[in-house]
């Protein structure tokens, strides 16, 4: 039986015993602060141009400037809100839709399950990045496109995991008891099974945030994610940064380093969440 305290309280209490998880939480908090107050922290506008192009890091431009004379430090900070928004919206929407699919497929079973699973099979058989590249080239690069593509990338694998959890749950006697007293299918799914699979769903979210952030950044890097002049940790590593890396290596180094730290923070926090919420999955490693 779970303690009566709400789960965030229990979680924070247990996180004290996870130094790396604590570090992750601090990292995530810093990124949230950068997302909310970045426009006060960044010294320049992310698209404002200076006459000194490809300037090496100095006190006034700590990360240097790019080929258009834009301050890389400011760009790296001001990219935070859009990256965070795209990542979180994609993962939460994708996992929510995947939960509906997995719940219906796993609980109803039979022909419906068979049909849904063949669709999921086809979906999974696509090399993920190629499917997303095609979708983004259909819709044209924008933040909205990126979110749609990432949601589509989240659903199939996640729905499989949810379905597995539902299958393990649905033969329990409490489900049968609910059926005997005449509860509807809908009620059993939403009121009885769903609460039992919350722990694996939280774990999936914690695994998917870093995975989806990396995928989204890869799409931006390939020129089919966030469009310029929007600062983006993925897109800013490509283009001129790759062409002029001998003259201005800082153009490629800092956006990618920022992305790595961001993903690392979520990974550290996610690992701690996995240990706390679902000891069975301990150390199983993120789907990569």
């Amino acid at each position: 039986m779970q303690a009566a305290r709400p789960w965030p309280v229990t979680f924070l209490a247990r996180l004290r015993h996870h130094p790396l998880g604590m570090l992750g939480l601090i990292g995530v908090t810093i990124f949230l602060i950068l997302a909310l107050f970045g426009h006060w922290i960044a010294p320049y506008s992310p698209t404002g141009q200076d006459f000194v192009i490809m300037q090496s890091p100095t006190l006034s431009h700590p990360f240097g400037t790019d080929t258009l004379g834009r301050d890389i430090f400011s760009r790296v900070i001001r990219a935070t809100p859009i990256e965070l928004r795209v990542g979180l919206i994609s993962v939460f929407t994708g996992v929510a839709l995947a939960t509906v699919v997995g719940l219906v497929s796993g609980y109803l079973g039979g022909a419906i399950d068979g049909a849904i699973q063949r669709v999921v099979d086809s979906w999974l058989a696509f090399p993920p990045l190629i499917l997303l590249l095609i979708i983004t080239s259909v819709l044209g690069p924008s933040a909205r496109t990126l979110i749609i593509a990432l949601v589509i990338g989240t659903i199939p694998g996640t729905s499989r995991i949810v379905r597995g959890a539902v299958l393990a749950e649905k033969n329990n006697s409490y489900v049968e008891a609910a059926r005997v007293i005449g509860a509807s299918q809908m009620r059993i799914m939403v009121r009885h099974i769903l609460p039992q699979i919350v722990a694996p769903i939280i774990v999936i979210i914690s695994i998917m945030i870093p995975v989806i952030s990396l995928l989204g950044a890869a799409l931006s890097f390939l020129g089919l994610g966030l469009p310029p002049p929007q600062p983006s940790w993925g897109a800013d590593v490509s283009g001129d940064a790759l062409t002029y890396f001998r003259n201005a290596p800082w153009m490629a180094i800092f956006p990618g380093a920022m992305l790595s730290i961001y993903v690392l923070s979520f990974n550290l926090l996610g690992d701690a969440m996995r240990d706390i919420f679902d000891p069975r999955l301990r150390g199983s490693g993120a789907m990569h």
Binding site: L20, R118, V119, D121, S122, W123, L124, A125, F126, P127, P128, L129, I130, L131, L133, I134, I135, S137, V138, G140, P210, L214, A217, A218, F221, L222, G234, V237, S238, A241, L242, F245, R246, P249, A252, I253, G256, A257, L259, S260, I261, V263, L264, N267, L268, D271, R282, G283, S284, G285, A286, M287, H288
Partner: protein, 320 residues
């Protein structure tokens, strides 16, 4: 067992129909006119019409009567082993693929070797001594590995040797058979950039798998018989711990293909990934369609091979 394999192979058909339909429809939704892209903006209306007629682009996409429109033309060709012609380069897609496949295969095989060479020893060392300093170092390294974007790692691998040692891999693709050393010089950094992020996931799985097996009764029996630790780890733990490792290496194929696309683009390797990327940008439908269908076939068979290897690695597993 045979029945199980046959049923799994039959699943290939709905998957292939689904994948081919989705790709076919999506590619035709990409804005821009193929004929215009292929002939350039100066093309006359007349030459555009001729081009469309020559490539069957003036037919309806789907048709109820044979030959079932453009989709029917394409699938009919596939069944005969004809992938169609590239609109942009006017080459046979089959030849394009045959030419580029060795590059991608070499990259992926080397990446998997990198992955296994790093991940399995590291995972065993960490798993055998859980919570020891070595284990903590390995686990921390793994989280870092999972957090570094492949495209950035690849970029650093090109950039840093160039800046520090003024070294760059020889340009232009070199075949392994004509110049093995030059070929490996070209492939070692891309393979590392592709393999290292994957290694992190495989290492974590190896570790937890070793931990799991160490708790089994037969391992305790082996200890009490007085076998050496080396023997126990290699003969008892590793063999049984391999099952989940085989799975994750197999499931990484899709991710590895996406990763290969990025790495090929960064290192200018003329492989399948680069070809896919260019085909998407030039709306060369048939190239993209061919690759997706081939990838789906590989995916289905790799998954089948994984499930069958379960039975071989663990005789307790039975299929019905």
């Amino acid at each position: 067992m045979t029945q199980y394999i046959i049923r799994r192979i039959l699943y290939l058909f709905p998957v292939l129909i689904g994948v081919s339909l989705i790709t076919f429809i999506l590619m035709r939704m990409v804005p821009g006119d193929v004929a215009q892209v292929a002939l350039g903006t100066n093309a006359t209306e007349e030459s555009l019409g001729e081009f469309r007629a020559a490539y069957g682009l003036n037919k309806p996409l789907f048709d109820w009567k044979p030959p079932f429109g453009q989709y029917g033309d394409w699938v009919g060709g596939l069944l005969k082993g004809d992938f169609g012609k590239s609109y942009y380069y006017r080459t046979e897609v089959r030849d394009d693929l045959a030419q580029r496949l060795p590059v991608t295969l070499e990259l992926m095989v080397l990446a998997i070797v990198v992955m296994i060479l790093i991940a399995i020893p590291a995972g065993i060392i960490a798993g055998v001594r859980p919570n020891s300093p070595v284990d903590l170092v390995m686990r921390t390294a793994a989280v870092f590995g999972l957090s570094i974007p492949g495209f950035w790692l690849g970029t650093m691998f090109i950039m840093l040797p160039a800046i520090w040692f003024n070294w760059m891999a020889p340009a232009g693709h070199i075949s392994f058979f004509s110049d093995p050393i030059g070929n490996l010089q070209q492939f070692i950094l891309p393979a590392l950039a592709l393999g290292i992020p994957g290694a992190a996931g495989v290492m974590r799985l190896t570790r937890s798998s070793v931990l799991e097996v160490l708790r089994q009764d037969y391992v305790r029996t082996a200890w009490s018989k007085g076998l050496r630790e080396r023997t126990i780890i290699l003969r008892h733990v590793l063999k049984n711990g391999l099952i989940p490792i085989v799975t994750i290496v197999g499931l990484q194929m899709g991710a590895l293909m996406g990763g290969a696309l990025i790495i090929e683009k960064i290192f200018s390797l003329p492989g399948i990934g680069m070809f896919t990327y260019q085909s998407i940008l030039t709306r060369d439908y048939l190239g993209v369609q061919a690759i997706v269908v081939l990838a789906a076939v590989v995916y289905v068979f790799v998954n089948l091979a994984i499930d069958v290897s379960y039975a071989w690695l663990d005789p307790r597993i039975r299929y019905t």
